[in-house]
């Protein structure tokens, strides 16, 4: 690598870091609202259960999953993710990818107030396949 190229890389990375810092700090990754006000990036969670219903709506889709705890008690958890336009770009198909009765494992982050609400990041299906369901944890405002 020549000196010129090294310098260019270095300048590029510093600019990138500055921009990334600015944009991450401004919740640019959230689809339409501030992630950080509603969700806590320090509270990642992974849950498994059975899909109850799906709201394929804007500006975010929601789906609900019955999750059984150690004692056998079932709680319905709500998951929020991308709008349909972004889901389709991630490979989702309405009424096909996710259906009531399906067994899923969902990774995401817990809400600050609602005890059973999660910002969904990734859904793993029974056959092991995965689909991205929402943006990475933003740190809006921080």
């Amino acid at each position: 690598m020549t000196l010129m190229r090294t310098l260019l890389c270095s300048v590029y990375r510093s600019g990138f870091t500055l921009l990334l810092g600015l944009l991450l700090g401004t919740a640019a990754l959230s689809a339409h609202h501030s992630f950080a006000a509603q969700y806590d990036a320090d509270k990642p969670i992974t849950l498994s259960g059975t899909v109850v219903r799906i709201e394929w709506t804007n500006p975010h889709f929601h789906f609900y999953v019955d999750v059984k705890d150690d004692k056998g008690a079932v709680t319905e958890w709500a998951f929020e993710g991308y709008p349909p336009n972004m889901l389709v770009r991630q490979g989702w198909k309405k009424d096909v990818s996710l259906k009531p009765g399906m067994a899923v494992t969902v990774q995401g982050w817990r809400a600050r107030v609602e005890p059973h609400l999660i910002a969904a990041r990734e859904v793993t299906f029974a056959d092991g396949s995965k689909l991205t369901a929402g943006p990475p944890a933003g740190t809006g405002g921080q």
Binding site: M4, L19, A28, S34, A37, P59, H60, N85, R112
Partner: protein, 271 residues
């Protein structure tokens, strides 16, 4: 004599390399920008900013795009910190402390300029001889921008996207945007402005695949000097603008109301 000549050539090449001038050894030649029938660069296409590339294609493609920038000698986009006056900076910090809960976008209000350019969804430019149409998937917003150098109309009133007129400066389309309302943030959380805001956008298609976007936000009421930001828009072949509807099931409104009843839940801890 021949050896002498070769030595001088070697020194000359080394000096050129050290001086930072791009050389054929270091950079790959980028495919040139297409031109419209009138000779101007054609900005037409579907474009995405870095945030959109990250969400739509993932980190690997972001890294590949950045590597192609380096290979083709394209400087990294740089964004300055906002040069706010103390009072406006206090306002921005207030919104940052509240972690963006007051974001006009969370209430489905249209993003202004330039924020809409940085959103993580694609936009399309359709360039015609005397005007360019910008179609944003974000908010399903559009701008119809005269490019013949005409002045702003007189019957405008303050609006979210402001009023845009443009002219060509060589191969760069320069868009002058004025007549903004104060209901938008400029780029990120809490980036407030006044009705005196004037935005100058510069669109340069510096290769077939990229537009260099340079934007200056001038607002003497809130800034000590104009604020400069940059981005690289990347061509996204095969992509299309899809529907974006915001209000249909915006549960944020109820959730935000709940959160606002107890600020300590979401506010940043004070130092």
């Amino acid at each position: 004599m021949k050896t002498h000549h070769a030595a001088w050539m070697a020194i000359a090449i080394a000096v050129v390399s050290l001086s930072g001038a791009p050389s054929a050894q270091n950079t790959t030649k980028a495919k040139p920008a297409p031109r419209a029938a009138n000779g101007k660069p054609d900005l037409s296409g579907i474009w995405i900013a870095t945030g959109a590339l990250r969400l739509m294609a993932g980190e690997a493609e972001v890294a590949a795009a950045r590597q192609s920038d380096i290979d083709e000698g394209r400087p990294a986009p740089r964004t300055e910190p906002p040069p706010y006056k103390p009072e406006a900076e206090k306002q921005r910090q207030y919104y940052l402390d509240r972690r963006g809960i007051d974001d006009p976008m969370a209430r489905c209000l249209i993003s202004g300029v330039p924020r809409i350019s940085f959103r993580p969804l694609p936009f399309q430019i359709i360039q015609m001889p005397d005007q360019a149409v910008f179609l944003y998937e974000t908010h399903h917003a559009f701008r119809v921008i005269p490019t013949d150098g005409r002045p702003h109309p007189e019957d405008v009133e303050p609006s979210y996207l402001g009023d845009s007129v443009a002219r060509w400066d060589g191969d760069t389309l320069v868009v002058d945007v004025t007549n903004f309302n104060t209901k938008t943030w400029l780029i990120g959380v809490g980036t407030v402005h006044s009705e005196s805001l004037r935005v100058t956008e510069r669109y340069t298609r510096d290769s077939y695949n990229t537009i260099r976007y340079q934007v200056t936000m001038d607002d003497p009421e809130v800034f000590t000097k104009p604020w400069n930001a940059e981005e690289i828009f990347r061509l996204r072949p095969g992509e299309r603008i899809r529907e974006y509807e915001c209000i249909e099931n915006n549960e944020d409104l109820q959730r935000i109301e709940k959160l606002l009843q107890n600020e300590s839940v979401f506010k940043r801890p004070s130092n």
